[in-house]
Every structure is written in C-alpha cells, then in structure tokens.
Symmetry: C2
Subunit: 420 residues, 2 copies
C-alpha cells in the first residue's frame, strides 16, 4: 500500500520568501550582493530572523554570528535535528544558493507545526556565517567554527578583503550573539541546496541524494622565467614563464579529462608579468583547483602535478614554486541519511540519484559534529554564483518536500506512522 501523503510545504510561501530575500542587496548588479556581515547581509538576517520569530521559533545567535531558529517541538533534552545553509552571497549572485536551504528549512518546520506533527526531538534551522568566503577567508567559516575546526577567537579576528574585522562587523550589525558555537550538538544535519552544477539538469533527475563531497586542493603556482624582447630572442633561447604556465594548464586538462575519472582540475586565476605585448613573460602566477571524492586519487593528482612541474622546470629552464592555499579531505556523508533521502524522494514520486558534491558546503563542517548529508535539486544549465542561477519552481518545491520527509524521519516521525 502506498502510504498517505503526510503533508506538503506551502509552495507559494517558500517561493515568495526566496524572491523577497533575493531582492535584498541589489545595489550594483542584476543579482543580490550580500557579503558576510555587511549592511546588506544584516538586512537579509533581519528579514530571516523576523520570519523565524513569526513562525514561533526561538531565535538564537552564537558568538560567530550563526543564526538559529529553534523549534523545541520534541523532547528538549534530546539533540535536535538541524537543517540549514547560509544567506550570505557572492558578488552579483543568484537568489537560491544557500537561501534555499535556510528558507526550505523554515518551511519544513512551519509545515510540521501546521500539520500538528509531534517530533521526538527539537528541530532547528540554521543560517551559518560567511559561507561564501568572498569577504572573509576561509569560506564556510561560521560552520567551521561551530564544528570546532577553527578557534572562535581566530574566527572573530579574521580580517576581510576590505580591512574590516569579522568580530567587529558582527557586533556592528547586531549579530554577535551570546551562545558558544556548538551550543546545540545536532542528532543529524541535513542541508538542501541547489546543485550548482549541470548533472541533475542534464539527466532530468529532480533529486540528488548527496553521499559524499569532493576533497579540495587549492595551490598557487609561480613560474619564474626570463623577460626578454619578443622580437630579438630566438625561440630556442627563451625561458618563457607564460608558455610554461600554458603547458601546466593543458597537462591538467588532459589528465583530468582522461577516461572516466571524476577528478576536476581548474586554473581559474592567471597573471603574467610584466604583461607587455612585446616582452616574453618573466613570471606567470596561477591557481590550481583540484577536486576528487577519493582522497587517495586526489593525492595522486597532486603528486602527478608536482612531478610534472619538476620536469617542466628542467625542460624550460624556469623555476617553479608552489604554495598550498587550502586542502580539505573528501567527506563521506552518513549512509543512513542518504538512504532516507532516497526513500523520501521515492515516496514523493521523484527520481533521485546518488551523487557527489563538487562544491564545499556547511554540511561538510557539520559532518565533523554529527551524522550529516545533503539533498540537491537541479540548477538549470548548471549555472550558479550568477544572476542567471535558476531552478524550476517544481524542483524547489519537490526538494523542500523531500527535506520535510527526511527531517520527519530523523525526528522520529515516519510517513508510514503518519499514514497509519
């Protein structure tokens, strides 16, 4: 017997709130810009905190500015089920990245309350500070501090790209709260997010049950050659740093693009010096972003690059130095929650596929603290961090209902129970 449908989120309320929040911070772009702890982000926080309060939730803020809406609906002595994401954005962003996870989390709690559900434990929705990392580094700073991966004082002392200090900015906007990060230790954490990649959209699958998250290796490579006149220096006598950099890019592309490996490799930043049309580049500086869901393979990719750089330095007569900028091991999410997501999708009549998160998310930090997983919905053409970021309304609503059913399960309310 197919179980009765237990409840469903209020689609128009959810979509309306996404648009309302997405309208905040529209100076200077087609999309919102709400950098962490800025005036625009304060306006976003005020709106969301107001919705939390209006929904009858207890609003709490911790010392690193993470914002929580707490429904003490079950046994308050038990660890809560936590859902959430972030509401800070990149510059000229889309309206779904992060906000969708927070507002769908709120929607889930309101739906559960309206349906008169009685969860076994509290349910909490969280909006973590500085997930994007545009203003303050590292990204995912709020959840990292929350999970104990970075000392609170270090987090508060972080200096932004504009010279502002995070702690002072949080105090300025009124979001330096009293709670110690980690004050709520969740029973489980589930984050609903747009995919920010093309896989679900290309395959026409509405739900991704995210079982792991790629390891990330960020390096900065500097190649020093010899500046010389572009007209008078025979090709055989050159030590062209730009040309060597180009070899690295094609090496990475050819290697990551081979066969069926899931490795992705990107050179996103590049600078030549002296950057003059008629001077052979003396220096090329560029970044390498390597990702792989398997730690052993990620290490092998790093090692292959390192070996290639040694060969290249020898062959081109250049010197190459490498600086590590960031390194996160892959995260394996909790299999039981991933399975619950798959069941929830099936229960809603939605196709799902297991997948890897290519991007970093607060869930990877929370996975240090409790069992965690993520749910993805399709991003049209994979576009994100861009005003053209889009997800079909039906997919947004479907994802929120899958989150609802997953939270119900984790909070001790199963569809079968409700249907009975």
């Amino acid at each position: 017997m197919v179980p009765q449908h237990p409840a469903a989120v209020d689609a128009s309320r959810l979509l309306g709130r996404l648009r309302q929040l997405g309208a905040i911070g529209r100076e200077g772009g087609d999309g919102p810009t709400r950098l962490a702890a800025s005036d625009a982000e304060k306006a976003g926080r005020d709106l969301v905190a107001g919705w939390f309060a209006a929904a009858g939730l207890e609003v709490a803020v911790d010392r690193i500015g993470n914002l929580f809406g707490i429904w003490r609906g079950g046994d308050p002595a038990l660890a809560p089920v936590m859902v959430g994401s972030h509401i800070d954005t990149v510059i000229n962003a889309g309206i779904f990245d992060g906000c969708y996870g927070v507002l769908a989390g709120l929607e889930v709690i309101e739906t559960m309350r309206a349906a008169g559900m009685a969860p076994g434990r509290p349910v909490v929705v969280a909006a973590f500070t500085n997930e994007e990392g545009v203003r303050f580094a590292p990204d995912m700073l709020g959840s990292l501090v929350y999970a104990g991966g970075l000392a609170l004082e270090a987090g508060l002392a972080t200096v932004g790209t504009d010279g502002a200090v995070l702690g002072a900015e949080l105090a300025r906007i009124g979001y330096a709260g009293p709670h110690e990060p980690g004050f709520l230790r969740p029973h489980a954490y589930v984050e609903l997010h747009i995919e920010q990649g093309p896989v679900l959209d290309r395959e026409g699958v509405p739900i991704g049950a995210v079982e792991n998250l790629q390891g990330i290796s960020w390096q900065r490579v500097t190649i020093d050659g010899v500046a010389n006149h572009a007209g008078t220096t025979p090709m055989s006598m050159r030590h062209d740093a730009g040309q060597a950099a180009a070899r690295v890019i094609t090496f990475l592309r050819d290697r990551a693009g081979r066969g069926n490996v899931p490795t992705v490799a990107t050179v996103g930043c590049m600078a030549f010096e002296p950057n003059a049309i008629n001077v052979i580049p003396s220096r090329a500086t560029f970044t390498v972003d390597l990702r792989d869901p398997d730690e052993a393979r990620l290490r092998e990719e790093e090692a292959a690059l390192a070996r290639y750089l040694v060969e290249l330095a020898e062959a081109e007569g250049v010197t190459i130095s490498v600086e590590r900028l960031a390194r996160f091991e892959p995260v394996i999410f909790e299999g039981a929650i991933v399975a619950a997501v798959e069941r929830a999708a099936a229960g809603r009549g939605l196709r799902s596929r297991r997948m890897t998160s290519g991007a970093g998310h607060d869930a990877q930090m929370m996975a240090r603290l409790c069992p965690a997983a993520m749910i993805f919905v399709p991003s049209i053409d994979g576009i994100s961090h861009n005003p053209r970021e889009r997800t079909l309304d039906a997919d947004l609503v479907g994802g929120a209902n899958v989150l609802l059913d997953t939270v119900c399960h984790l909070a001790g309310i199963d569809r079968e129970d409700l249907a009975s």
Copy 2:
C-alpha cells in the same frame, strides 16, 4: 697593403656621455625612465642639444620634435648622410638603447671634424621622438612622421597613456620646432644600436651588419567560454576560455619552435575573467606577437593561427575573436650599405655577421625615405629594456668606429683615400 687607420672615436668621451645621459630620469628605478616629451626626456634633450651645439653643429628641431645636429661639412646642396636613433626610454630602462646610436653619431662627427676630414656632403645626427611608444602610440612615431608614414597633425594629436597630447607636450618642453618633418632628405641613413637580443653575445661576434628587419604582426585574441563552478562542472561539460588560451600558446610555441624557421611567436599579455580560483574562466584575452623577416612566411603564420582558432572554437565550444593591433611588413635594408658595414668591420679587424633585426627601429621608417641599414653590437645575455642592459666598452667603441668608417664611406671619404 693594410690601409692606415684613418681616425678613431674618443672612447672615454663616448662612454662618459652615455653614462651622463643615462643618469637622467632616475626617479623610481635602478635605470632611467625618460618617456617621450616628459620632463625627464626634456632634460635629456637639453643635454644632448647642448653637446650638439658645443661640437659646432647647427641644432634643428622639427614640428614633431625630432632633434638634429647638422654638420654642414660638405657641399650643402647635397643630401646629407644621416645617423642617429632616439633618447626616449621605456620605464626603468637601460642606458644604451637608442642613446648609443645618437651619442655615437655625435662622436663620429666630432671625430671626423677633429681629424680634418672633408666629407663630400653634410653629415647629420638625429634623435627621433617617441621611438619606444610607451607614452604615445605608435612607437617610432617621430621617424614615421618624418618619413611621411603618418600625417604631422595626426602625430601631434596623439593622446598619451596619461591623457597628455603629444603636440602640447612638445610645446610645453620647448621641442615643438619650426622645421617640417622630412626637411632634410638623407642620401643615406645608418643606425647603430645594441642588438637587444642574444645572438651576437652567444656567438662572440662584435658587429652585426643588419640586412633586414622582421615583419611584425600584433593581434589581440579574445576567447569567450562559459563561467562555471570549478567543483561541480565535469571536465566534459566545460567551455573553459583559459584552457583554450593555453592551447593557443602551446600551438604557437610548438609551431614557431619547429625546425630552423626564424619565426618568433610570443604571448606577452594575458587576462582571465572572472579570474577567481573556483570559477572556470569565461573569458581569456591575450596578445600574439608574430615576427618573421619574410612577408610570405609571416602571412602563412598568421593564416595558420587563424585556422587553428577556428578548429579550437569548434572543439572547445568557445567563441574567438581577433583584433589586429599592428602590422609592419619586413624591411630589406640597402645591400650596398650593409656591405660597407662589413668592410668597415673587417677594416677594424672585427668579425661581423649579417643578421636580422628582431626589434623595430627608426631605421625601418627612414628606409621609406632613403637607402638605410643598421649596425648592431652585442647585448650581454641579450638583455634590454632593463637596468641590467649591458654592452662591453670595447664593443661600444668598436661599433662606433665601424659607424665612423661607414659614414666616411657614404660621405665620400674612403679609408683607402685617407691612407693614400
């Protein structure tokens, strides 16, 4: 019978003046910075014009600021032999580029006068305006206007990188002269210059008899791909503008570096957009500098690049546009003058080799007006446009003596005559 040595330049006077002129414009660098028509360049002009006058030369300035020292030593009705180069510099330059040709020209005239030589025609030393093209584009502007390749009014209206107008700046520094450019139409033009490349130094040859000058093709290439998340976009779904740019660099290098072709290809400027570590580049903009002494081959290199860009756009799913920035056909210098340079070198007991100029020089513009050629001396390690630009004193003096003998020949005084 070896002919008697006719005369020789005053080495210490020449080297001393090079150092004195090289000391002007030393704010903010190890080397001089004398951008065209700047205060620092005015100081350099004043020094050089003073030396011209002190040597008994008639000092003349034309309307585009070209500075001349005229020795009406022969029949004033005959076209003069002209020597020279420029005294403007790049930013943080060496002291020899350009200045050597002007000061050696002055030295040659003073030596001829001191030796009591009676040339058959006038001898003139020239310092052309804005050869480097750092402040005003195009480079070699003064000699281009002089040779009739650019209208005077257009040259004067040129706006510099700092917004200044060349004509106004020349008036401001007192070098907007009364003469029409081209007022002296030379019998022949000879330019002595440092090689600015490594060939003579590597081969240990002190004199280059420059028989031609490479054609130059400058293009700006813009590749538009699709910005996407570096973590979530599989390699097979990317349209990476930076990666495509890297393919162009390696294509150019592999092609120009093949076999024994004299083609040189350089990508000196490069910019990625949005230039973020975790975003696949949506745009790469770069310059291509192609040079070859043979016009047909230069055209074939341009065509090969164009064909490759079409293939690449198709293969990578990117769009590519190309803008032509500059194009000069190769210049063939006057064989009789080149042979005279070789004979002069041999007469001084100096080895010489015929060679191609990889860089642009005022001589290529003057070649439109009269028979012309160049003499090169070695640049240690090929370094130029840099405070580390160096030529051995012996090579500087040797080159000046070869210029002396070449000018004597062109002015109707041959070594054999003097020795008789």
